[in-house]
């Protein structure tokens, strides 16, 4: 492994062990995407030969790619993990949130309510996420150990200073932490690591044939719950996912890359950011910060 990946891995394993030592009831936020899969891999390394000493928490929007769900179930089985699922559909059914309507309707924002409910119900004191600082400008300001108040909210203007490798996870009753072990990794680091460590990924990341339609220059997967505008038509395309989220907000890349070497070449040459095709970030200049303040991932 190249020395920069080794350094990042050492740092992330250190963070995972701090999580286990400083919190009573952590959980890994698992989406089925590559970053959360890398998190699970790092946690396996951090605690070997013990099993990962905390469960996975998946917030299921009900609009997930089946491939991601299947992958999740296989991973849980393979490593003897415990899986907690928070269902956005249940949150909607209980009347806590109202489903968005219109062409750009997405359950992305509703997830925050389900996530905070799941954290409260399962008494999770550290929700470990795969957020990276290179992803988005608000995330560039995020700490490894990020404090959330009793309402699950982030106060970006008053974060605890984080020095050397000393992480302060102390909190009062009802508060919790979000912890980001791969804060310092870039998209390319994640892919190179997946390549070097031979980490399995859902087939969505590799080229495949899919029904898709184009909206404002972004290709989106077609699914029965996606409302098409009159001028949009479904076409069969050869695509792959660069990020994997909920179907309603995951942009597809037209790509023939069917192996990790080709994907790495593609990422290294791209001139568009990873989240550039994510609908959830395009809503406003501070879309990510606004959601994070409310308690989003």
């Amino acid at each position: 492994m190249t020395s920069h990946l080794k350094a990042l891995e050492n740092e992330s394993i250190f963070v995972f062990r701090e999580i286990a030592a400083q919190f009573q009831n952590p959980a890994i936020l698992f989406s089925g995407g590559k970053d959360s899969i890398v998190l699970v891999h790092l946690a396996l390394k951090a605690f070997y030969p013990t099993k990962i000493p905390f469960p996975l928490l998946h917030i299921d929007t009900g609009h997930n790619f089946q491939e991601a769900l299947d992958f999740r179930d296989d991973l849980v089985k393979e490593h003897g993990l415990r899986l907690i699922v928070g269902s956005v559909q249940e949150t909607i059914d209980s009347g806590k949130v109202v489903e968005e309507t219109g062409y750009n309707a997405s359950r992305n924002k509703l997830q925050t309510v389900t996530l905070l409910d799941a954290i409260e119900k399962n008494k999770i004191d550290a929700a470990v996420g795969g957020g990276r600082r290179d992803e988005e400008k608000a995330r560039a300001k995020e700490r490894f150990f990020s404090h959330r108040d009793e309402f699950g909210q982030w106060n970006p203007k008053n974060q605890r200073p984080e020095l050397w490798n000393i992480f302060n996870g102390r909190k009062n009753m009802g508060e919790h932490f979000r912890v980001f072990p791969i804060s310092n990794w870039t998209e390319l680091d994640v892919w190179q690591y997946i390549y070097e460590e031979k980490i399995a990924l859902p087939s969505l990341y590799y080229t495949h044939i899919r029904e898709a339609f184009c909206r404002n220059g972004v290709w989106l997967a077609y699914a029965p719950f996606m409302n098409l505008k009159p001028n949009e038509k479904v076409e069969v395309k050869q695509v792959r996912c660069r990020t994997v989220g909920d179907i309603s907000c995951t942009g597809l890349t037209l790509s023939k890359a069917n192996n990790l070497e080709d994907i790495i070449k593609e990422i290294a040459a791209t001139r568009i950011t990873e989240r550039g095709s994510r609908w959830d970030d395009k809503r406003s200049e501070s879309a990510m910060e606004d959601r994070k303040v409310e308690g989003y991932f």
Binding site: F14, A21, D134, P161, I166, N168, R170, S286
Partner: protein, 413 residues
């Protein structure tokens, strides 16, 4: 490819954002959609040119006020090296943020406006870099285009800074005349400065060697977490997980376990399912010992002839971070490596005036952004090194007992 972490410091209008923007842009770390977004935002604000600072100001409040509030981390790579920048704001809460950014940096990039020369801020930034033991400083003398690329001006600033560096005991200073706006000497050597014979900024960042002889330091292994599988396959396994904070340790080494001074022998070192012979500084490993001894989080494995100091009275340079001032004789929680103890503030020897580099022994009130020499007494002894010898075993933070906020950072003397 290895990793270099550096911090950037400069005053408000010295072109720091422009320089970072250029480093990111020229190394293709700025993407088209990001450029489009900040182009739109610049136009909305009625600005003529693309404002690269909008790229680095991640928070709404920062963009609204046009100021940087908090440390932001940025990433770029060249074919030779990978870089993490801790980008620290120039004015508001400069000390708190720069100390934070500097704590993980191998190198500090300090900007000086060629028209103004060394300023109070330059001295302040250099002091913090030396306090945090950053081994390399690159002094970027920026806006050379505004002074006709005058060698005389460059040499004068350099001469003035040599004195400061000597006073602060900073050993490796590199000087470079640049224009961040036009790119002179940033990636390529500029034709405007034929008198400058050294490397461009990027070449310097790519080649400066920062990890000198760290494996020769005394071995320090703070125990972070105990691994006990209690499974059939690993029934009697008891592993000590941690990241090596100094030197190297090998299978077969005799070690002393602090604080109980128990001796044992290392029987295995593993990273995941792989056994290795030697672990070096920075590696996160799991260690097994020959004897079934009592070891818990907060303990430290060291070698017998390389013992750290055992201290209950600790003198340190302290940087205060919180709006609530330090409580004289107040009690705080201390976190030192994986250890947590309580402490009481005993005395303030002096407060540092970081503009004039003088020590004030009269004023003992320590508030936000102050740096002072402080004595504490801990509830139980800590095993420490001086910060100069080891940044991990020589550093600690103070935490408020009620709010749990991180109040201060200390560098042990």
């Amino acid at each position: 490819m290895n990793l270099l972490r550096f911090t950037t410091a400069g005053s408000v209008d010295d072109g720091k954002s422009t320089l970072i923007g250029r480093l990111l842009y020229d190394s293709k770390a700025i993407f088209e959609d990001q450029l489009e977004a900040i182009d739109l935002a610049s136009k909305r604000k009625g600005e003529e040119h693309i404002n690269l600072a909008l790229l680095t100001d991640g928070l709404k409040a920062e963009r609204e006020q046009g100021i940087t509030i908090d440390v932001a981390y940025r990433y770029f790579a060249t074919p030779k090296r990978k870089f993490i920048i801790a980008d620290t704001p120039g004015h508001i809460q400069y000390t708190r943020n720069m100390v934070t950014g500097a704590s993980t940096a191998d190198l500090a990039l300090i900007l000086v406006d060629a028209r103004n020369g060394i300023s109070e801020q330059t001295i302040r930034h250099s002091y913090i870099a030396s306090l945090l033991q950053i081994k390399h400083i690159i002094l970027c003398i920026n806006k050379m285009d505004m002074v006709n690329f005058s060698e005389q001006i460059f040499q004068n600033i350099k001469k003035n800074y040599v004195e400061i560096a000597e006073k602060l005991n900073i050993q490796n200073v590199h000087y470079i005349p640049i224009s961040a706006l036009n790119g002179d000497n940033v990636v390529n050597r500029s034709e405007h400065t034929p008198w400058y014979k050294e490397s461009s900024l990027i070449e310097m960042l790519e080649t400066i060697e920062v990890n000198n002889n760290t494996e020769k330091l005394p071995a320090r292994f703070p125990v972070q977490y105990i691994i006990r599988p209690e499974s059939d396959k690993f029934h009697d396994f008891r592993g000590y997980a941690g990241q090596l904070a100094g030197g190297a340790i090998s299978v077969g080494d005799l070690v002393v376990i602090l604080p109980n001074l128990i001796e044992s022998k290392i029987t295995g070192i593993t990273i995941y399912n792989e056994s290795i012979k030697t672990a070096n500084i920075g590696e996160s490993v799991c260690i097994t010992l020959e004897d079934d001894v009592d070891v818990s989080r907060g303990d430290m494995l060291v070698k017998k002839d390389e013992m750290p100091e055992k201290n209950q009275d600790i003198k340190m340079m302290l940087c205060w971070f919180n709006e609530r001032p330090m409580n004289q004789n107040g009690k705080y929680i201390v976190r030192h490596t994986s250890n947590e103890v309580r402490c009481i503030i005993k005395d303030v020897s002096f407060k540092m005036d970081i503009n004039s580099l003088t020590k004030n022994t009269q004023d003992k009130k320590i508030g936000m952004n102050d740096i002072a020499c402080v004595d504490i007494r801990t509830s139980k002894a800590l095993f420490t090194d001086s910060y100069i010898k080891n940044k991990i075993t020589g550093s600690l933070i103070l935490i408020d007992e009620v709010t749990n906020e991180t109040m201060a950072a200390g560098m042990i003397m």
